[in-house]
């Protein structure tokens, strides 16, 4: 018997398929479209005017003052849900 380990039989790797020129074109076109969409979205969002929370600009350009925003109300307790027992004061 021989002590030498027989060499493993050589495995031939499968031949690499090179992308065809048509696949390169499709991949490139998809990347260009995604990039163009991202750029246009960012541009539109940056151009949108930002108003202060208490101000709204009317179509005529005047700034209208709104009442100060109210804090969100917590979920009503059973007592407070009895809206019929609340009083609403207003001019009449």
């Amino acid at each position: 018997m021989s002590d030498t380990i027989p060499a493993a039989p050589a495995i031939n790797p499968p031949p690499r398929r090179r992308p065809s020129p048509a696949r390169w074109w499709k991949l490139g076109l998809a990347m260009v479209l995604v990039f163009a969409f991202a750029v246009s979205w960012f541009a539109i969002d940056s151009a949108r005017p930002v108003a202060a929370p208490s101000q709204v600009r009317s179509r005529r350009g005047r700034v209208a003052q709104l009442p100060p925003p109210r804090q969100a109300r917590p979920a009503p307790s059973p007592a407070r849900s009895r809206r019929a027992e609340r009083i609403r004061t207003r001019s009449s």
Binding site: Q71, E85, T89, R90, S91
Partner: protein
């Protein structure tokens, strides 16, 4: 909660401790008080005592409730230095408010003739003889003042914890349904669907004055019902709305109108000088100022 219609507004009666049957019985008694008051003090019902007084010439016999109302009115004229004055009736007619208000009902293409200049010092009340004299053309209007007084009277018929709410002029008895005070939402005059803040009130009355609801068109120009006695014209103010909390709805109504005509700075000082009075001033710009000692709910 029960409701009925009187004095051109919806009146609600809230009695948390009563069942439906007893609440309905209480509401009928409250409605009777409003009905009796309207038949006596209405400017628009032709056979009311006030309408007959406004048509009369010379010393005119009047009822004890009318004498008492005019006596209280004179005290308020003095308190407000004439910014409350029942002789604005002629000016209201001249502004086109000569019938019960409804949206569009007061619109007209031409302006009515101007009212005669008037002041309450021209009205002579002879308590001993039980008569009232006024110059021709001077007509009395007791509108919101009497509505508040009627709510005060009606509230005496209610249980210890109950409320009567006459279109925003309300008398609140006791500590409310949950014992912590009645929750009173102050409506936003710029948007009736919103509330500028909520108060917690016990054993007191509230009233609100603003020109935002009773508006109409005369010869294409907008009018409203808050007549400034100093000019006889619809009053202008840097305030969009005033709410007053006081001992009675009658007092709260008078003070709310007065503070409105005074404007934000003088109106605040005026309310601060009065004992047991608080207020909420809303400017046209939307800012809200709380005057005096009142519990604002943090919601």
């Amino acid at each position: 909660m029960s409701a009925f219609r009187a004095m051109g507004t919806d009146v609600r009666v809230v009695t948390p401790g009563l069942g439906p049957t007893r609440e309905a019985a209480v509401t009928r008694r409250v409605a009777a008080v409003f009905d009796e008051s309207e038949r006596r003090f209405s400017r628009f019902l032709p056979e009311s005592e006030l309408a007959r007084l406004n048509r009369a010439t010379g010393p005119t016999p009047v009822s004890a409730p009318m004498l008492a109302a005019l006596d209280r009115a004179r005290a308020y004229v003095d308190l407000t230095r004439g910014l409350f004055d029942p002789t604005i009736g002629s000016s209201l007619d001249a502004a086109g408010y000569d019938r019960s208000f409804a949206p569009g009902a007061l619109d007209r293409p031409t302006r009515p003739p101007p009212g005669a200049p008037a002041g309450f010092d021209q009205v002579v009340v002879d308590a001993a003889a039980g008569t009232v004299s006024r110059p021709p053309g001077v007509r009395l209007d007791l509108g919101g003042f009497i509505k508040g007084h009627t709510a005060d009277r009606a509230a005496r018929l209610l249980p210890e914890v109950a409320a009567v709410d006459a279109g925003g002029d309300a008398v609140l008895r006791g500590a409310g349904p949950d014992g912590d005070g009645w929750l009173v939402d102050v409506e936003d005059p710029a948007d009736a669907a919103r509330v500028v803040l909520t108060l917690r009130v016990r054993d007191a009355a509230v009233a609100t004055s603003a020109p935002n609801r009773r508006r109409w068109l005369v010869a294409g120009a907008e009018q409203h019902h808050l007549i400034d006695p100093r000019t006889g014209l619809a009053g202008a103010s840097d305030l969009a709305q005033v709410t007053v909390i006081a001992r009675t709805a009658e007092l709260a109504d008078v003070l709310a109108k007065t503070a409105f005509f005074l404007g934000a700075t003088a109106g605040r000082r005026f309310l601060e000088r009065l004992p047991a009075v608080a207020g909420v001033l809303v400017r046209h710009a939307g800012s809200v100022e709380v005057v005096g000692d009142v519990d604002v709910v943090d919601e």
